[in-house]
């Protein structure tokens, strides 16, 4: 009952004309960003966050706008996956496996509608799950002391490194790079500058938005220069769009199962949407009786990962809002947004600023219905976005990034740093070092150190204090398992290979 009255108060916030308009605008922008080939939720949201500050929005409004963009991009990502065989980001990869073959067989419209409905089911149920689970978890979070928080941050890094990357050494190094960058600047506790090399500009530390935009968006430009945008333009024409009620009906079970899997995967700190869509797809393939069509255009292979990754997107908001630990690259970007808005996620947020949390949840519920309308009957409009050539899109993304960072600080040093992060991001991607742990490190570094120091001050320097409670021990065990277990599991679970189009290779050669 309490939840319902809180939700009602949330709708009071969300149904004001301004907020409603922002949610709708966020959904439209998000779907477009998601559909743009080469842009996905994380880099799309990243370039828009700095701009969101330049409007006079209050915290709730800014949060609602950007979360709507996030949800929208999760929906929109499937459009380029299905029609172009180009995933906007990692979670969308699974959708290409069956979506693209379906589109090639002339069932593109069907795949788009089905995946739109699957996204809706996944995202809506996950938002309801968020609504029910987040307040409970926020009460559990009161039991967390500094030792537990330190272990929790470690857990986030280790699951992220263990699951999202195929090389633990490189993921751990990425986390260290991020943590190392976070240390730069004035030390909160002692007031002394650290590792600034005497540069005045670095006294405030490296702005995480600069790092995020550089690593996620500017690096994309270099990647496209290398590929000359060649693997983008070939796609499948979209024929008439009909709503395949029969297929949707047959996929209901798939959607519900995948939503459950995706939501749980999303809640795990550090795991996020990639794991959600991966588990949903492989789980569904293992569960159905006749899986011979998987990878060749099985509608269930489209419904499963889409429901899974959208459910994970909702699930990832649970640890982000209650514990301040993001579950994916995009939620890391949203955490950056929260921190810049001076909203500290955690149990206090639920107790002291319920209008932020419940306004957000109500806005997400509304956003889902808006997105269903945008993504099923109006999907044709967004398909047009696919034809933006990379030669226009990427310079545009780059210029928007610059203006965003410039509007934050009006300093050329930040823009130079952003370019440096762009180059770093490109190099690391070539060497197969994941960039999300870097962002997480920059975001969580100071909090992680503060918690360690508090824990040590409380215990008078006894290191055993870090393992002194049941919760802390549990988190440490989970962290170690999350980091090591995937090494062994990888032998049994193979990542499905994305569909390679022979025709496309020929075109690439002749282009």
């Amino acid at each position: 009952m309490e939840t319902l009255s809180l939700l009602a108060s949330g709708f009071e916030v969300a149904l004001t004309p301004t907020t409603l308009m922002l949610a709708v605008a966020g959904c439209i922008i998000g779907t477009m960003v998601g559909a743009l080939p080469g842009l996905g939720p994380s880099n799309g949201v990243a370039i828009l966050v700095p701009l969101a500050f330049s409007f006079d929005l209050d915290a709730t409004e800014a949060l609602i706008l950007m979360t709507s963009v996030y949800y929208g991009a999760m929906y929109g990502g499937r459009i380029s996956s299905i029609l172009l065989n180009i995933p906007g980001d990692e979670p969308a990869l699974m959708t290409t496996l069956d979506g693209y073959p379906m589109a090639k067989a002339g069932r593109g419209g069907e795949a788009l509608v089905l995946s739109g409905v699957a996204s809706f089911v996944g995202a809506l149920l996950a938002t309801i799950g968020l609504m029910l689970l987040a307040p409970v978890l926020s009460r559990v979070a009161y039991l967390f002391g500094p030792a537990e928080y330190f272990a929790l941050y470690l857990l986030a890094f280790s699951t992220l490194g263990g699951i999202a990357s195929d090389n633990q050494r490189k993921a751990a190094l990425a986390a260290c790079i991020g943590l190392g960058i976070a240390m730069i600047g004035v030390d909160n506790s002692s007031g002394m500058p650290r590792l600034t090399g005497g540069h005045l500009h670095l006294m405030d530390g490296v702005d995480f938005l600069v790092a995020i935009v550089g690593l996620f968006a500017v690096s994309e430009v270099f990647v496209f220069i290398e590929s000359h945008g060649k693997n983008t333009a070939i796609g499948v024409k979209l024929e008439k769009i009909v709503i395949p009620f029969k297929v949707i009906g047959r996929c209901t079970g798939t959607m519900l199962r995948s939503t459950g899997i995706g939501f749980v995967a999303g809640i795990l700190p550090g795991a996020g949407a990639s794991l959600g869509s991966f588990l949903a797809y492989t789980g569904e393939k293992a569960m159905v009786k006749d899986s011979s069509m998987f990878g060749k255009g099985d509608p269930r292979g489209v419904a499963a990962p889409e429901a899974g990754n959208n459910a994970a997107a909702g699930g990832a908001l649970v640890p982000m809002l209650t514990l301040g630990v993001p579950g994916s690259g995009t939620t890391a970007v949203l955490l950056a947004l929260l921190l810049t808005l001076n909203i500290t996620p955690g149990p206090q947020l639920f107790a002291e600023r319920p209008e932020v949390v419940w306004g957000l949840i109500a806005a997400l519920l509304i956003a889902n219905f808006v997105l269903l309308v945008l993504n099923v009957p109006m999907v044709r409009l967004f398909v047009k976005v696919l034809s933006v050539p990379p030669g226009v899109l990427l310079p545009g993304v780059c210029m928007v990034s610059f203006v965003g960072i410039y509007s934050l600080s009006s300093s050329h040093v930040d823009m130079l740093l952003m370019v440096a992060f762009g180059v770093l991001g490109y190099l690391l991607r070539k060497i197969n070092v994941p960039t999300v742990p870097i962002i997480l490190g920059i975001l969580l570094g100071n909090a992680m150190e503060d918690n360690l120091r508090q824990a040590m001050t409380l215990s008078g320097g006894e290191w055993q204090f870090l393992f002194s409670t049941k919760i802390a021990i549990g988190l440490w065990i989970a962290a170690v398992t999350g980091f090591i277990a995937p090494v062994f599991l990888r032998r049994f679970i193979k990542q499905p290979k994305p569909h390679v189009d022979e025709q496309m290779d020929v075109d690439r050669l002749t282009d």
């Binding site: 190094l173 240390m183 310079p395 410039y406 509007s407 762009g422 070539k430 060497i431």
Partner: protein, 145 residues
């Protein structure tokens, strides 16, 4: 080879980081951990990861671009750095048109399309930012008018 080299770079960067962290001044408050421990820990773990990467490199080797693409990438870098310096003193329109045009040319080497992209993005984004989103951008420096 790439991974071995990269691992060594990471190893040495980590060690330098640890060395730099030893030079951090401590504060006056009593603190059992201090300002140095955590950075040193991070640098140490990073160096260790670097060493492990160098000892056990990934297969297969990443494919590095050829000389011409490297040149394109370098040009793009220079343009972006120049843009960072030029945006404030030279106003939005001119630097954006040049930077966007050059970047577009690096992605798709078609001069006409690149020129149009530069002009279009510069004008279009200016209108969007200035008049739709209300950002305080300057079109061209005042003393040019």
């Amino acid at each position: 080879m790439t991974d071995r080299l990269f691992g060594l770079v990471a190893l040495f960067t980590g060690l330098i980081y640890v060395y730099a962290a030893t030079g951090i001044q401590s504060g006056f408050l009593p603190d059992p951990v201090g300002s140095r421990t955590f950075p040193m820990l991070v640098g140490g773990v990073g160096a260790l990861c670097g060493l492990l990467i160098a000892l056990k490199p990934d297969r297969p080797e990443p494919v590095w671009p050829g000389a011409r693409t490297l040149l394109s990438l370098a040009v793009a870098c220079v343009v972006l750095v120049g843009y960072a310096y030029a945006l404030k003193p030279l106003g939005f329109l001119l630097p954006t048109a040049i930077a966007a045009g050059v970047l577009s040319y690096q992605i798709r080497p078609k001069p006409q399309a690149a020129l149009l992209t530069g002009l279009g993005l510069s004008g279009g984004l200016f209108v969007l930012f200035k008049y739709v989103l209300g950002l305080g951008l300057i079109a061209v420096p005042r003393d040019w008018l």
